[in-house]
Subunit: 229 residues, 2 copies
């Protein structure tokens, strides 16, 4: 991965988790104007705010239980907070030992460093701009993202699982209240720029906790058994 | 489907839904002893009660929301009750118009007649006895079930989706609190003896709301795209 040289000034916030991990300005070194952690989402935010919000959320937050309770745990939490030990988390009023073991496992396997989360957000933004029907990025954002991930090719973003081309319009479609497009992981337990992408909701569900390659092996086996009967 | 000639005496119960649909004795006509709706599960119940309970539950009850609330609706209800109109259901304190449309759709598509549910329970029992490592059925139960569905072949029951042989021991295995084996439907919205069978939980999830044939077409398409790149 090529890199942009970043400003990296600390951006102070009122988050209770700031003492664990400060936020850093992700703009190029020597930039003009205000510091910003997600400046490359500014354009997408004006086009379709929900997409920018989704990228920020999926890259930085765990998905926990669908509801919040003492037993089920927090429903979303910053991924890097989940790198802390159980005893350190108590200082932030997160009682891991009160949660069910399955919830703990789910939260812990979604932990990721701040830097990986920042890289994931950039990668997802780069992918969105290469979807069919996607808006065109402003030149500065295009260059910033291409410096990391290479030249953008319009209409080249595919579902990481079924390999069908993805359309930007899928972001606004929903079935039974669930978005038709999700952030997916080639290997489900690694949250970094190389391993993330977008997937159809149905593909993501079918993949389950397999890697994409394990999923292909699995469905090849099914087809083989079906055809040999 | 061949048939047993049944006793069909009404078995009175204290269920609030008895006025909608009485329970009928499913024993052969002229049987001795007590009337029974699920006599063919008696043996399985002594071997592994949870399996007999599961067959009865999956064949006769809808799966609703994972929790119970005014908005989410009843979490399980008799499938034939869901054949009643919204206004008839009000007499049973079920307010369909208070539920979210998605919940209503989910409940309604799981409706089935009493006779179909009885046939499903018998079919599932017939399939269980043909799993690897399954107990041997007593002769009267074997004959009763074979009269409907044909000769039992030990070790012949496969997952209706991936076609791998299923073992009776899967019923006692669970991952993250979820059973590894589920009742599946070849076409997800038809609850009758021809259309039901057992499936691995992961297969059932991957199938989603597709028919098994649609699922095969879908995964064939994926393999084709993956291999052609």
């Amino acid at each position: 991965m090529k890199m942009n040289e970043l400003c990296h000034e600390i951006i102070s916030s009122r988050s209770a988790y700031d003492s664990i991990q400060p936020k850093y300005c992700q703009l190029p070194k020597g930039h003009s104007g205000k510091h910003s952690e997600f400046h490359y989402l500014d354009h997408l935010r004006t086009v379709q705010k929900s997409v920018a919000d989704k990228i920020k959320r999926d890259s930085t937050m765990t998905t926990g239980a669908a509801w919040k309770s003492a037993e089920a745990g927090p429903n979303r939490i910053l991924r890097w907070v989940m790198l802390l030990s159980d005893s350190d988390l108590k200082h932030y009023e997160i009682q891991m030992d009160k949660l069910k073991p399955q919830v703990v496992a789910k939260l812990r396997e979604k932990s990721a460093t701040y830097d990986d989360c920042m890289a994931v957000a950039k990668k997802l933004t780069w992918l969105v701009y290469q979807m069919n029907e996607a808006p065109k990025p402003p030149q500065d954002i295009r260059e910033y993202l291409e410096n990391y991930f290479g030249k953008m090719v319009s209409g080249s973003t595919t579902c990481i699982i079924c390999k069908e081309k993805l359309s930007f319009s899928l972001f606004s479609k929903a079935q039974r209240g669930k978005a038709e497009i999700e952030t997916g992981h080639i290997s489900p337990r690694e949250h970094n720029a190389e391993n993330v992408g977008f997937a159809h909701r149905e593909c993501n569900i079918a993949q389950g906790n397999k890697t994409v390659l394990e999923f292909y092996d699995w469905i090849r086996g099914i087809i083989k058994r079906v055809d040999n009967r």
